[in-house]
Symmetry: C2
Subunit: 635 residues, 2 copies
């Protein structure tokens, strides 16, 4: 079986991931988004890489084209992420329609590489003088990391070694430059740390693991000026809170988790767990978003999780997904899978338009309908808008190809395998052929998750086979019962656990789970004062929002949920690609346009029907206002 | 009568301000703060100016001391503001205890001035090469403006001309440099605009008015790189919203108002009124605070008025007070006086500690009790703390001396006079001798305002004298009746107006006003989503907050006001220098430490007594948490 998922062969882990190519999704929300990714996004992203000179950069450094480089310092990485997305797309069973293009680009990359392995297009043209000269701000190591990730994915998906050789040669070059007996230094934007562990796993070359360790251990020694914004304020073992640039912090934690999984150094898992507690207990948006603050794209204070001015970069939610996957794989603890699910169905899927061509860079929890708040926030145009755009490609375009590789690789995160267990981490319609104890076990999930909570698992074994089936019970899920082969259902199972069924399985066994999906009114910790007196609506893993487009003639800011009103739900196939919408009677509040006035003025003057749609699907219709957190009356 | 207030002799105005020296305050909240300012702050600020080299800078440039300059680019202005504070202190009748020190410093300033009038200590040592070289970031024109303001105030208070001559010589130097027939340019930090108008008023030298106009008209022409942060994005007439650095924006508006008052150019008052609507309708904190955002100390988006992460620089609230005074003087419209009062009793007084030696630079509406949020916000330490400090002096110290000059000059803002009217803008215990129609009218206010709403005005005229008494009815005040000489009271008067009593007054006339002061629950506009489901408590002009120190054993974040609970109030003489406190039964809410959980968990589990103290007095006891906006149950 080809090794295609990210984390394999590690020393400390609860399970291996199942080969993504062996998981065949049926119709579901996720499959629809993946199909769009395959059919539209990959092609469109290639075209944007061409249009904006990102591929021409490699043509120029390869010597096959004359011209000026488009010297964006992270531009190479966007091409690498696109290649990685193509690898996952091919590897998970889609027709290899983009592979030819990817192979052409890989040829250009190979031709661009310098004799000693150095590869970073801006400094190939400028030659060696600028190499490694500005680790704080340049993205050499970051781009190198993405090269390595793309190469490993491509090798696993296709068995082709060309890009892997380039990546290994680049890593050799980096290993010559950096290390205890060479130069100090580490990257201002983490990424290479996790990539190098993966390269070690793919090549069994221990120096890559050592180099990853070196880069991680360099932090807090001042090589990046001690800057908290880029995680250099403390040695990693002393970092106990999520600080600084969110994507950088989360990528660093991915690297630390990977290092831990290879070394088992307990002090590393300690820092990871402390930071996870800080993240999930004090800094994560209800959508799984990470990095509250525009300025520095960074984590805010504890409980600083604003709605309208929140940043929540797409890449940060993806990075959280990646980190939590690593933590899940290490520990087998269900809470990590919950965070993955929360991010996926909310703050990640929100980034992509229905047509797969336009993206959000930021994913705030509120928009007032008045254009982009980005300029006010000290960021370029196009962020903080209520319209997804393609304009990222003209500047920083990290998010779109990150989204593409995540969607393309999603089938690798559904199942986990170890000697005597099959983990079911995530629920969606699919058929998977899993290799357990030398046999192929076929698991079929029939479900309309996340829109309905019923999941029917068929387990087909070649003969009788004893193993444990570990079923994740989501944290949001109360009163779950498991029913095996139609017998008496289990007692209600504790949420946020894995429920283990150990038995001798045989062809035709059926496990039925039912996750009740009432609409929940979720309150935030009272110190999240942005949300005082407000609730978010959630059903299953999906968080909802209220959009003005569903409320003609009403200012949605004048709507309050009623605590006792029943909230109905309905699947609407022809809305937003097929979603469940919520409907409820709401209070319509009075008030003037005064900034401050007596409370009495703001009392309800009537009722109105409130419609809520999944947050991830907002801003796909007439642009307007949107709110996740809604005031609630009669607490 | 000596001319001591800022705005006199202007062309477009509703009234002249009364001479601050003729208003003698009796015991009141304001007098207590002024007494502390006189007895402690002025001396302490002088010492801090000495300790931090601000006065030594002048000794060095005067050639009476060797050494290195402490080259803070706004340091000169702090000394000038302190001189202005001393001038107002002396001019309003306090013993001239600091005058000797001020005269010594004025001598140093005079000796520091260059032959051509240039005066800015950093570039005296560096000599002329750096002069006017960086108008965007340097503070030459800003410091010059403060020199002029101090000089005018000192001249009006003492009749002494030395500093005024220095200031005029400096202004001549600036007028040689800048102008339609000289160099383009304007200051990155407005301030000089209003100062030059005042200098024109004091000297009748029209070129200073012309220079002010030039600086104002330069904006929007790109001389400051078109930067919105420093109000160069548009010509002033096209600026319709409050943008950029709050103090700069508000000082600019002061200058524009002064220019308008001299020129009557209607297009200027139009932009002022538009911006006032934007400020008071969409950007002003309930405390009168201005400038929501840490980053850039700037105005946020419309309705971006956060609590905990709000900035609300002390100087910005003072600048708003100054601007609104100018608008009031121009128009005689009560709404401007309301904004002055709101800022004064809340977001301005909050800046100073009870002992008058420690200050807040920022005045947020919430503090979680966990140290300073400043570093996180990209600012130096000491801001965003729940402890006032003296540490400003080691860096930027604009706020403390700004506070000192404001408090020292406050008696100039109480009354207004024109040919046939006396305006009573603000209420506080005092006796004032006002020159009307050639006669001295003595007005005595007996009141415990702002703690009680009853005001008794005695009007003593030398004989019978007909004039209009214009009594401000605050915007917060409903059901006000005026009673003259014990006769039938008037009908209820419209809030936010001036109530005019025109009659022939004679000795012993008595006017009694009663402003009912119920405790009000104030709601914010629904687009201020930081405050959804919350109210602020206000009684009279005073906004309240809840502090943890009054709630031992209770996390104030678990308290919610009850909509129908009666809120009691009581004056407590020995608390916080004498304040009215509020008390009410409140809900004590349950909940775990989870970041998100079902609303049911957060329901009330009991009751607790909530105590609220005036916001301005917070952080004078055991440091802890503080909230202005409190959640309310049963809306």
């Amino acid at each position: 079986m080809s090794k295609i998922t990210e984390v394999e062969n590690s020393r400390v882990k609860s399970f291996n991931s199942a080969n993504m190519g062996r998981v065949k999704p049926g119709d579901s929300l996720i499959k629809r988004r993946r199909d769009v990714n395959h059919a539209a996004s990959l092609q469109h992203q290639y075209e944007e890489c061409e249009r904006t000179g990102r591929i021409d950069n490699f043509r120029i450094t390869a010597g096959v084209k004359e011209g000026e480089l488009s010297n964006r310092l992270a531009a190479d990485s966007d091409v690498y992420k696109w290649i990685e997305a193509v690898a996952f797309d091919v590897g998970s069973g889609y027709p290899p329609e983009m592979k030819e293009k990817a192979d052409e680009v890989i040829d250009l990359i190979e031709q661009s590489q310098e004799g000693d392995g150095y590869l970073f297009t801006p400094y190939i043209v400028d030659r060696t003088a600028k190499r490694w000269s500005n680790l704080v701000s340049d993205h050499e190591l970051y781009c190198g990391g993405h090269l390595v990730q793309a190469a490993v994915a491509y090798h696993r998906a296709t068995g082709e070694k060309k890009l892997l050789d380039v990546a290994a040669k680049w890593a050799d070059c980096a290993a010559d430059r950096f290390g205890p007996n060479a130069h100090p230094g580490t990257g201002g934007h983490p990424e290479v740390e996790m990539a190098l562990v993966e390269l070690y796993r793919e090549t069994d070359e221990k120096k890559y693991l050592k180099l990853s360790e070196f880069f991680i251990e360099q932090r807090g020694k001042g090589v990046l000026n001690g800057d908290m914004k880029i995680q250099d304020h403390l040695p990693v073992r002393e970092q106990s809170t999520m600080e600084g640039h969110a994507v950088r912090q989360l990528y660093l934690l991915c690297g630390i988790a990977d290092l831990y999984s290879e070394t088992g150094d307990k002090s590393l898992i300690d820092t990871l767990e402390k930071q996870w507690s800080n993240f999930t207990g004090k800094k994560m948006a209800v959508t799984g978003g990470a990095g509250a603050r525009y300025q520095g794209e960074r984590f805010g204070l504890d409980y600083e999780i604003p709605g309208r001015t929140g940043y929540y970069e797409t890449c940060a939610a993806i990075a959280s997904f990646m980190w939590n996957w690593r933590m899940l794989q290490i520990t087998g603890t269900a809470g990590y899978a919950d965070v993955m699910e929360k991010a996926l169905y909310n703050g990640i899927l929100s980034a992509m338009s229905l047509d797969g061509k336009k993206y959000f860079y930021t994913n705030p929890l509120e928009h007032d309908g008045c254009g982009s708040i980005s300029e006010h926030m000290g960021k370029g145009p196009g962020r903080g808008s209520n319209r997804r755009s393609t304009s990222h490609w003209d500047r920083t375009a990290c998010c779109p190809p990150n989204m593409a590789r995540l969607l393309a690789g999603l089938t690798g995160y559904i199942y986990g395998l170890n000697e005597d267990s099959i983990y079911v981490h995530h629920y969606l319609e699919n058929e998977a052929t899993l290799h357990v104890q030398g046999a192929d076990v076929v698991i079929t999930q029939k479900t309309r998750y996340p829109w309905e909570g019923e999941v029917e698992l068929s387990i087909d074994t070649p003969g009788e086979l004893e193993f444990s089936l570990k079923l994740r019970i989501p944290g949001w899920s109360k009163n779950v019962h498991v029913n095996i082969n139609g017998r008496e259902p289990s007692e209600a199972i504790e949420p946020e656990t894995y429920f283990t069924v150990t038995r001798r399985w045989s062809r035709g066994d059926r496990v039925v789970l039912n996750f009740p999906m009432p609409v929940e009114k979720v309150a935030a910790h009272p110190r999240v004062t942005d949300n005082s007196g407000c609730v978010a609506l959630r059903r299953g893993p999906v968080v909802y929002c209220t959009e003005s487009t569903d409320h003609p003639g009403i200012d949605i800011y004048n709507l309050s949920l009623l605590e006792d009103a029943e909230i109905g739900f309905e699947y609407v196939e022809d809305l937003l690609g097929g979603v469940v919408v919520l409907r409820s009677e709401a209070a319509l509040n009075g008030g003037t346009q005064e900034l401050y006035e007596p409370l009495e003025n703001r009392k309800a003057v009537g009722r109105a029907e409130l419609t809520a749609v999944p947050y991830f699907a907002w801003a796909n219709r007439t642009p307007g206002a949107m709110r996740v957190w809604m005031p609630i009356k009669h607490l």
